[in-house]
Amino acid sequence: MKLVIAVIRPEKLTEVLEALYRLDVQGFTVCRVQGHGGEGERVETYRGTTVKMELSDKVRLEIGVSDAFVERTVKAVLRSAHTGEVGDGKIFVVPLEQVYRIRTGEEDRAAVTPVGVNPHLETV
């Protein structure tokens, strides 16, 4: 199992979610975050105060998936969050030790599989 962490442009969230739903990836957490990558300077002026906005608004998705789903999930985000401009974001894939579904107490693979799908069926 892996935890796929994607940091994307806020305006791309709808497209990314659509791409994930199409893959049957239905479980994730979304938060609004601020970050700094290699974006060009954003200079803003408020009355006499000129500031360089170092932090840009981003959306961070955390998606726990079984191994069979890692590549598909990453590819879907790469495709749907892409604009080609600096500031499209990053994807981090990190190992996941254990997952529990709180409602049922299911563990690991069963816990990351959406309700109604057989966790032992290898769908590639």
């Binding site: 442009r9 305006e11 709808t14 200079v43 803003e44 000129t50 500031v51 360089k52 906005m53 604009t83």
Partner: protein, 428 residues
């Protein structure tokens, strides 16, 4: 100069002026947060560019004697506009000019609702300035400046055709020409601050007492009728709107309520000083229906009239103009009776006025937008729309936290020793 008339018109002018920042809140609340400042600035800038254009040139184009089609340049740069009484009134000409200027300002600002979240700011400002001179001043001349619609006997008390039908027609042409927002019909685009929209609708209603109540240009029975009708008609529209909301979805929506108030205000505008208070209730109630269904229908089309200027001001304005032809009553201040009081011809005259206004406005608006487009792009790029127009057009954000932002110090200013200067370089 009559003191009472002048005092009332001074107040009415301030009331109408307030409607433009009120519109900024109404429109600003209905867009996404990344476009809030741009949307509000589209209303605000009209106070500057259309205001100054009116003082220098627009006023004389509208109210100079001229011909039945156009005004003239007799009062250009406000020549001869002083403290003597304006024709047919007991208020100074200067005050009359200022009062009418606040109408030109709000009318041009109304158009912005159809092009928010995508029209470039400077192209927009250039467009509404030209539009106020070419379209608004001309139609104002036709109706209030002794032009052909006035001579034909068209009734427009405070600007149903001059203000709302012109703005809505221009909005329709601009929305089609500039095209839909990049996200329109692709993802949900929701209002970011509905309380702002309600604040705006409330302040619009407040300002509208000056708009309609002041259009008698005096303190008299007609002013009182217009004022109270402005209280009554939107109340009826609001009630019917809530009823239609309930019938459709079982819930009374706040955005619907705010919209209903505006539609009622638009509809009573041409009739305010010409109809009985009970007729005003009827006009308000009837006007809710076409606008309500037009908004539901419009959002399923490719027409991205983003804040429904056509449905609210266009259909509301047309309903108001036609219903004026139905309900006008000599007994309540109208120069002629309407259809219900034995003068069916008036309805025909009202229809001609509506059609002529739509036709002229559509053609002139198209030509002006093409003219501006020859010098500057009208439409913000997809990347600019994605980032939001607040930053791309104004270099500001409505809800900036400033966390992590670096203060840039101007090189020409002496550095104040107490100001923290971030050190350059250093280890990460």
């Amino acid at each position: 100069m009559n003191a009472a008339d002048t005092v009332w018109m001074l107040i009415a002018t301030a009331l109408v002026l307030l409607m433009t920042p009120a519109l900024a809140f109404f429109y600003g609340g209905l867009v996404r947060s990344k476009n809030a400042l741009n949307t509000m600035m589209m209303s605000l800038v009209s106070l500057g560019c259309v205001g100054v254009a009116w003082f220098l040139l627009g006023y004389t184009l509208a109210f100079g004697p001229g011909t039945t089609l156009f005004g003239d340049l007799s009062s250009v740069l406000l020549r001869g506009v002083g403290l003597e009484n304006a024709a047919g009134t007991a208020i100074p000409k200067l005050l009359f000019m200022g009062y009418q200027g606040t109408f030109a300002i709000i009318t041009a600002a109304l158009i912005s609702g159809a092009v928010v979240e995508r029209m470039r700011f400077l192209a927009y400002a250039a467009f509404i300035t030209l539009w106020s001179l070419v379209v608004y001043s001309t139609v104002a001349h036709w109706v209030w400046g002794g032009g052909w619609l006035a001579r034909m006997g068209a009734l427009d008390f405070a600007g149903g055709t001059v203000v709302h039908i012109t703005a809505a027609t221009a909005a329709l042409v601009a929305a089609v020409l500039i095209g839909p927002r990049k996200d329109y019909a692709r993802q949900a685009v929701l209002p970011h601050n509905v309380p702002f929209a309600i604040l705006g609708a409330g302040l619009l209603w407040f300002g509208w007492f000056g708009f309609n109540g002041g259009s008698a240009l005096a303190v008299n029975g007609q002013a009182v009728t217009a004022f109270v009708n402005t209280l009554m008609a939107p109340a009826a529209t609001l009630l019917v709107w809530i009823g239609l909301d309930l019938a459709r979805s079982g819930k009374a929506t706040a955005v619907g309520g705010a919209t209903g108030i505006v539609v009622g205000l638009v509809a009573i505008t041409p009739a305010a000083g010409f109809v009985s208070p009970i007729s005003a209730l009827a006009i308000g109630a009837l006007a809710a229906v076409p606008s309500h269904f037009a908004i539901l229908y419009r959002s399923r089309t490719r027409l991205d009239d983003s804040l429904d200027v056509v449905a609210a001001h266009g259909l509301g304005g047309i309903m108001g103009a036609l219903l004026t032809g139905l309900f006008a009553q000599k007994a309540w201040g109208s120069p002629v009776n309407g259809l219900l009081f034995g003068n069916p011809r008036q309805l025909l005259i009202q229809a001609v006025a509506v059609l002529a206004t739509i036709g002229f406005t559509a053609i002139a608006t198209y030509a002006l937008l093409k003219l501006v487009a020859a010098f500057a792009a009208l439409r913000a790029t997809s990347a600019e729309q994605g980032q939001g127009l607040d930053f791309s057009q104004h270099g500001e954000e409505a809800y900036a936290s400033g966390d992590g932002a670096l203060l840039l110090l101007s090189e020409t200013l002496p550095v104040d020793p107490v100001v923290f200067v971030p050190s350059k370089g250093g280890a990460h």
